[in-house]
Symmetry: C2
Subunit: 394 residues, 2 copies
Amino acid sequence: MKESVPSPPPGSAGIVETRHLDLPGTVRLDSGRELSGVRVAYETYGRLAAGRDNVILVCHALSGDAHAAGVARTPAAEPARDGFGAAGRPRGLGWWDGMIGPGKAFDTDRYFVVSTNFLGGCGGTTGPSSPDPATGRPYGPDFPVITVADMVGVQRAFLDALGVERLAAVAGGSLGGMQALEWAVRHPGRVDAVIAIASTHALHPQGVAWNAIAREAIMRDPDWQDGRYHGTGRAPDAGMGVARMVGHVTYLSAPALEEKFGRRLQSSDAIRHTLTEPEFEVESYLNHQAAAFVRRFDANTYLYTSRALTYFDLARQHGEGSLERALSGVSARTLLISFSSDWLYPPSASREIEEALRALGKPVEAHVIDAPYGHDCFLLEEARQTPLIRRFLG
Amino acid sequence: MKESVPSPPPGSAGIVETRHLDLPGTVRLDSGRELSGVRVAYETYGRLAAGRDNVILVCHALSGDAHAAGVARTPAAEPARDGFGAAGRPRGLGWWDGMIGPGKAFDTDRYFVVSTNFLGGCGGTTGPSSPDPATGRPYGPDFPVITVADMVGVQRAFLDALGVERLAAVAGGSLGGMQALEWAVRHPGRVDAVIAIASTHALHPQGVAWNAIAREAIMRDPDWQDGRYHGTGRAPDAGMGVARMVGHVTYLSAPALEEKFGRRLQSSDAIRHTLTEPEFEVESYLNHQAAAFVRRFDANTYLYTSRALTYFDLARQHGEGSLERALSGVSARTLLISFSSDWLYPPSASREIEEALRALGKPVEAHVIDAPYGHDCFLLEEARQTPLIRRFLG
């Protein structure tokens, strides 16, 4: 029988496969703990130039993975891209395929684009669902609490192993943008340009609250079992579903929900006086999102990653409370893109970074794209980000 | 031993006690079902005039109860008023005490103010935690699904039993405002004035989503036991806690959380790399709110009430999709108050009601109070609502 390989759409980075690399030695973490035997899942698109000077590292957000572009040779059962705009996407397409490929924002005719699953992830990189070398069983809650800086540390070690010394750019949206900013602060000598999209230097307290609620929903689920659910036949699917619903609503804007669903009922023109069944279309939609997410994502990874992104605070971690001081060593050019309707990572957060960099006399360019879909715009508004990124990189 | 009765603060409606009245006959519900033996918990403040023409009905919101004003003779262990502004409130004070009393917005020197716990509540009025006459056990999920119109129907039957034919005004905030609007539409001949504060004619889809998430959090808790948790020694406290956290964040604004908590850590100046412990002050605050709410509130009441308020839709229920048509029979004067930072029941919702009433040539007055505390302003900004309400009623 012939193997059925999906054909890549025109302009695609092609048929790709996630590969894995085992880091030599140990990785020392912010918490003081060490991890050995760290494996990194990654994909690359385009060709590494002889001078190794055309590398762009793309960093993913909370629920992403290494499969950023092209069509997976072996598509996952559930795509990492869900929510608005997910319906009708070809099966196996990377989560940022609209941005990465020949002639696209991150132009693979020119750049060698590298995408890794971050430390703590559940997409092939070492994380809480990976086997603990000490026991052979999944780490679970014995996995060390990690930070965005730890994710960046593993990316750096990975690039070292690949023989890549400098990055032409590091780019990402949301938590991916945090990693990009951390790169600029932590390794100024290795980054030429930073592209932080729909991101922040420190999540505002309401965002901290939403993340705390999502984590509580998981940890209060008895099937979480203090994080030791692997191998028990039970997982905190109920709590994960609630966590995803909370996340999903914070990623969208109220007007976007109004436009897409309004107050339309699911099954009829009149209310059915039901307590337990979804009645409004938006209720069914959230249930569907929750069910799909639970099938593809590890609950502990959600917890660790959510904690890392709420901890992220450039001023606290690098500037003794001053964002300007934290950014004082940055040498990369910076591009900041935010979206008018994003209330989770609002334009004001990007503006604070912009102002601090400007006050330091550093090259920075900032754009607010007027678009209605909230935080998810960084995935949905690929076409409008493309010229900004191409011009910035060009 | 002398009985220890708290002394009422100056300007208070005095020491009060929640009383109960059993409605005669049966109550027919929107769903077609009937309830018999309905008990109503209520309080009154001020004196009923001989002409019975000075009655103001005050309607409470999702988590409220009949104890709106004065000091309870027997204070509940957990006050119905929590969140911002709750600390330092005298024990046993009603949830809207700043609004109801001698010389206050609802002036008990002049008006006879009546406050009932609504149908489906857990504050003494018949609800899902009340005994089902058919079995003697709590209704639980056998309680009929109710609507805001059903709450109003019970209030009307209650006032009939009291011998009150007309209301000088009906007033409430949030879900309480929905009841007030329903009164104006359903019983135009019995209401002289409507005061709907931080309310809406139909919750927007994002609000529907938040409510669905809160209900999911409760119903996915295995201790909910399909609603039959009474008498089992287990209750869905974990899910209720998550539901309350979601609610609480939607009742506040992002700037209010920024101002009150910022990104301050709970226990130290540096992060502790903990997954399970609250780390930020806002996380501890939410945990505390959740724990207090679980102690005082019935989970099924939360479910039924949340469903009722998402169902509420004046245009759908009374106007074949047209708000103007729904309001065409209103004869009461209407006062609408909203708050600039309220994103759950935003000023735009009040504006839509205002515009529909104006288009119909009906007397309406609308104010947007510029205040930072989000939806909870209807509880917190008593001082600024007072002159508006006094002038409107005067």
